[in-house]
Amino acid sequence: MCTVCGCGDAKVEGHPHSHDHGHGHTHDHGHDHDHGHSHDHIHYGHGIAGVHVPGLSQSRIVQIEQDILGHNNDFAGRNRAWLESHGVFALNLVSSPGSGKTTLLCRTAEALKSRFPLAVIEGDQQTSFDADRIRATGIPALQVNTGKGCHLDAHMVESAIARLDIAEDSVLFIENVGNLVCPAAFDLGEAYKVAILSVTEGEDKPLKYPDMFHAASMMILNKIDLLPHTDFDVERCIAYARRVNPEIVVIQLSARTGEGFDEWLAWITEGRRRMAAHRKGQAGS
């Protein structure tokens, strides 16, 4: 959704020209992207520059009933259709900064890369540090820099998908910008949102940031190896999360030691198996 570009200089690696969004034309998205895989950045353009010729006409009321997030949701729908038709199980990882998302992803990549193909889209305001860390594990990763933007949107993800070589029946991890507020509102086309909360944060975060824990299907409690050193109350945290989302699945693990990882890996493996089976079912019908 171009709407979001205006809040910063969003950049996707490997796409060196600038888009010019936010003006009064129709965008032709969902087209074939013909982009290389170099790892420089692209800049999303920004700014509103409407060009309209003033005319004389009478005041009137136009009823439009349009969802403000409609554009984003259109892109998200297209992303979801593309991912499903390719059997790609996509997870949108959301958390506050410093919860251990990238460490979690690196360990997950190491554990799963020999079993099926993986890819990662990394969202941060600046730098390609995270994508560099993922690439060091041998997994294709693309950095999206949102500039001043506080979240990834579905249009950025569409561009990133077009540039990453995403294999059929693979798992795509989308690491959102570290922010427990804004990413909750933006569907990217993922199968599930996974909220990561580390035990060095407050156990009351599900109540402080209810939108995110409401939008997520799973809560990962990370850094449980540090529990003996904190006052974090696991049971209370889970109760808070269930209060805003009675269906939320909870996994406790440590991305550093690997404790609890089997359950997380099994969940991903099962999600991927179902998505691949769905693709084969569609292809056969």
């Binding site: 979001v4 129709t26 409407g50 060009v51 005041s59 009137r60 136009v62 439009i64 554009h71 209810p210």
Partner: protein, 114 residues
């Protein structure tokens, strides 16, 4: 922070509508913002002022926000109850088994244009 991008989304929709309906100036925009949506109305108004001013289509536009109250279905009471946030419990039974039925709206309802 995302009110800025949402506001730009609003202006973009206005531009699309201007092209579709052949108007050149927006005088009033009525937004429906649910009480449980992720939007702070005051922040939206602030951002709209900043974004609209730079566009001939919306430079004189006035933003009117219609608040939609939150409501949820209580699975234990089997009825619709008012809620003001996602962490509210059922005001009747105190239970947490609530499914939001309204208050999540973020919509442009109508426009006054010329």
């Amino acid at each position: 922070m995302h009110e800025m991008s949402l506001t730009e989304g609003v202006v973009r929709i206005l531009e699309d509508q201007a092209a579709a309906h052949g108007f050149t100036r927006v005088k009033t925009v009525w937004l429906e913002i649910g009480e449980l949506s992720t939007v702070v109305p005051e922040s939206m108004e602030f951002c709209f002022g900043a974004v609209a001013a730079g566009n001939p289509l919306t430079a004189d536009a006035r933003l009117e926000i219609i608040r939609v109250p939150g409501a949820a279905w209580c699975m234990d009471c089997s009825e619709n109850v008012p809620v003001t946030s996602r962490v509210d419990l059922c005001p009747k039974c105190g239970g947490a088994k609530l499914a939001v039925t309204s208050g999540e709206e973020m919509r442009i309802k109508e426009l006054e244009v010329e």
